[in-house]
Structures are given as C-alpha cells and as structure tokens.
Symmetry: C2
Subunit: 143 residues, 2 copies
Amino acid sequence: MIDIAELARRSGLRASTIRYYEERGLIQSIGRRGLRRTFDEAVMDRLALIALGRAAGFSLDDIGEMFAKGPGFEIDRGRLLERADQLDTQIKKLTLIRDGLRHTVNCPAPRHIECPTFQRMMRAAGHGLIPALEQPTRRASSS
Amino acid sequence: MIDIAELARRSGLRASTIRYYEERGLIQSIGRRGLRRTFDEAVMDRLALIALGRAAGFSLDDIGEMFAKGPGFEIDRGRLLERADQLDTQIKKLTLIRDGLRHTVNCPAPRHIECPTFQRMMRAAGHGLIPALEQPTRRASSS
DNA sequence: GTGGCACTTCAAGTTGACTTGAGGTCAAGA
DNA sequence: TCTTGACCTCAAGTCAACTTGAAGTGCCAC
C-alpha cells in the first residue's frame, strides 16, 4: 500500500521511470486512490530484480519476458547461463583492454600500433572489428 | 591512396560509418579524386584506434579529444589510467553478477530475494540503484 | 561518348530507455 | 470553499552512433 513517491524514494528511481515500467508491463499497481497509483510492497522486489537484470545486460524486453514466464519470478535458466557465458567473454575482453590501457601508459614505443601488447589488445577489442589485425586461424562460417 | 570502399573492406566498417567519422573529425581524407574521397594507409591505424577506444568505453567525443591533443597519437595518460580504474570496477561488478547468475540457476531458494548470494549480487548490481538494499555502512556525502 | 554504378550530399530515421512539457485532476489543509 | 501541489495522461523530445533514402555527380569500361 505505498504510493509512487514512496516507491521512488525507496528505489532511487524517478516516478516517471516507475510509470514507464508499469506501462511496459514490468510492474503492476494494485489499484488507484483517486487518480493515483497504489503499489504493493512486492514491487520493491520487482524493481530490484529489474535493476539487476539491467546490470546483467538484459533489455527491458528480456526482463519482461522472464517475468511473463510464470506468476512469480520464474526465470529462464537457459537464458541466465547464456548471459553468464557472455559475461565471461566480456570480462575477458575488458580485462585485456584494461591491461592494455595500463601498458600503453608506460609503453615507450613511438607507435603503439607496433607494440605487441597493443596489438593483442586490438585483437581483443572487437571480435572482427578490425579484421585486418586478426590472426587467420579460424575463419568462422557463422553469420 | 585507398578509396572508401577499400577502407571499408579492410576495416570491416561501413562506408557510411567512415564518412561519419570523417564528419566528426576522427579521421581525414587526403583529398578527392573527383567527388570521391582518397585516404592514406595511416587511417587504418586510426580506425583500429577508434575501435579500441570504443571497446574501452570511450565515446567518439572522448576519442576525438585524445586525437586532438597532438599531431600523432598523443593520448592523455591520465584519462587512460582513469578509464582502467573504471574498467576494474566494472569487471568486478560483472564478475559478481556472472557468479550470481550461475548461482541463481542452481539455487533452490523459493524467493531469490531471500538468498544471501542473490542479495550480494543485488548490492553489486548498481552502486545505489536500489538504496534500500545497501548496507548502511558509509553514507557518502558526494553527489 | 555514353551508360552504369559507385560514389557524393544532406536530411531524416532508428534504437532503447527514459525524460520533459503541457494541460488536466483531485485530496487535503487553511 | 478555495488553493495548492502532487499526482495524472499523452505526445514529443533526448542521447549516441549510426543508417537510410532521395537526389545528384562523375570515373571508367565499352
């Protein structure tokens, strides 16, 4: 039985964001007191879950689908594992880039392009972004 | 002395992207052959650097500023270190979330919200996204 | 010399997640 | 009763990094 202002205060989100989430079907109000939305305590959990999903890299649509799967928090385990694997890849990439940045700060090479560490970072930067720098090891056939 | 099509082929970028980068001042063509832009080999290096910068989380504006600092690839070392630190934070956060996701898949708790691992992940998900879940340890005075 | 097509310009559209603004409603306190 | 101000709706705007489309130009092969 909390109103949108209280929800905003407690979640740290703006009222407009909460309305937007309701419009997107991510949360529900339990009714109206006049014009004003009334919410259940449980939407705090929902909002936390949404924040977590966003931090994990899911879109609001993804999150909506997950919620839609069941009456509670029925989350698709396959999607979760898939995302965890993607995070693994992303973490490795970011780690390489982070190390590369630190290296660059100290690297005395006149042209970074010629430094092996820099090249390694380049290769890690985007799987295929700069094909010319890729090793011709595996030329994937996938799209 | 390469044209935009060749540059696109070698970089994996679209011609429209290359034109856009030129418009933004990130690269320069060395002239025109009729209407058509002509590029130097060195722009390949620039494009690689841009891809790397983007992968490291810099905006095109940031990248433009870095290039503007000097005639060559004079990159602001402070900015690099700062970004490396931010990557550290991001990597830690993503690692927690990844582990949290994997945990969730196996966690038998009826309500994830009540699971300590899940809560830890929540806390990591966004520094302040869900203030209600934060430990009341340090109430930062910064904005 | 001419036809085709790869290039050109410039404006407008796209995506995702919101925010903003204008104009309206209504519950509560003075 | 009247005012206030927090809420409401709905459309439109924002941001970044591009992409798309329409309309035009000119190099090169034939």
